[in-house]
């Protein structure tokens, strides 16, 4: 066997183990949620939606409302404890950064949702009510909270599963918004 080939053969196990260790290190990175399912709808138009508002007499949520500018759509429910935890972050996102924030009230009854927002404040521009959860299933929602970023054409560009932290906003939401608004 020639010298370089022999060397390659000896180096191979070392390289393979190094690659595995790097792979495991990435998989164990802090902040990574291994159970989060990536959206199947990234870069695809957001599924058609036509929901009544949780407030009587106010406009609901339709596909046309999600076009013309980049928006952040937050899927929440009054029964969801992490939604309560992320609420100040959403408020800051809407009021502090002026991001158009749309509510998607999933598997919840409008009355409970109104009480939830009365207590914590309502940062949403408009809120669609989806008590059966069917509209959410069209979007690939599998739990609350979830947060989607849509571009001006109404395409889903980013999905965050679980409550948003201030770091998520600085590290992901705002950069993605800047990128899709270009």
């Amino acid at each position: 066997m020639t010298q370089p080939l022999r060397f390659a053969l000896y180096a191979l196990p070392f390289l393979a183990v190094t690659a595995l260790v790097a792979w495991f290190a990435l998989a164990l990175a802090p902040g990574r949620d291994p159970s989060a399912v990536p959206s199947a709808l990234i870069d695809k138009p957001a599924p058609q939606i036509d929901l009544p508002s949780i407030y009587e007499g106010r406009p609901g949520l339709r596909s046309a409302d999600l076009k013309g500018r980049a928006t952040v759509v937050n899927v929440f429910a009054s029964w969801c404890v992490p939604c309560r935890a992320e609420h100040p972050v959403l408020t800051q996102l809407a009021k502090g950064h002026g991001v158009p924030l749309i509510g998607f009230n999933w598997k919840d009854n409008p009355e409970a949702a109104r009480a939830f927002l009365e207590e914590l404040g309502d940062p949403f521009e408009r809120i669609g009510s989806d008590p059966s959860g069917r509209a959410g299933i069209d979007w690939g929602v599998y739990g609350v909270p979830e947060t989607y970023i849509l571009d001006a054409a109404g395409r889903i560009r980013y999905k965050h599963v679980g409550p948003l932290s201030a770091e998520d906003v600085e590290g992901a939401i705002l950069p993605v918004l800047r990128q899709v608004s270009r």
Binding site: A40, L41, K107, G133, R134, I137, Y142, G143
Partner: protein, 158 residues
């Protein structure tokens, strides 16, 4: 007496079946369609519990997906159409049996590839090697020189 109690307990334990997640109200009236729905829902992952099928899961979303699946079947969808409907929303992850495509080649063929590499390595290591060439016998001049060197050694040692 003890034997009777033992038999009774055993009998009771044999009566207990696995708890079913599917509620009677969910089932389709058509037995053939219901059988298809059951078989199909065993292949669909519950996104909430992730290692259960929607057929086994008590999660709210699993129930919704079971109902949607039955709705599609009752509406005349084929099994493939129902799967496509769910994959379009939740991605391949919703299928408990991942499809073979370039992205999943590593998953499907990785173990076989590693086995081949191991077999190749074992062959390189264990293959019969040519025996070392037999040493050529010394010619007359070499033998004379060797004798002389040995003789010199002997004198020094003496």
């Amino acid at each position: 007496m003890m034997r009777w109690i033992g038999a009774l307990l055993l009998g009771l334990m044999l009566l207990a079946g696995p708890a079913l997640a599917v509620q009677p109200g969910e089932e389709l009236a058509d037995a053939a369609q219901e059988a298809r729905a059951r078989a199909l829902s065993r292949e669909i992952r519950c996104l909430v519990c992730q290692n259960q099928s929607i057929d086994e899961s008590e999660a709210d979303l699993a129930r919704d997906l079971r109902l949607i699946l039955r709705e599609r079947i009752a509406a005349g969808d084929s099994d493939a159409q129902v799967k496509d409907f769910l994959v379009a929303r939740y991605g391949d992850f919703v299928l408990l049996d991942p499809p073979v495509k370039p992205k999943t080649w590593l998953l499907w063929f990785g173990p076989a590839a590693i086995l081949l590499i191991a077999l190749g390595g074992a062959w390189l290591y264990l293959r019969p090697r040519p025996a070392l060439a037999e040493a050529a016998p010394l010619d007359a001049a070499e033998r004379a020189r060797l004798d002389r060197l040995l003789a010199e050694d002997g004198e020094e040692g003496a």
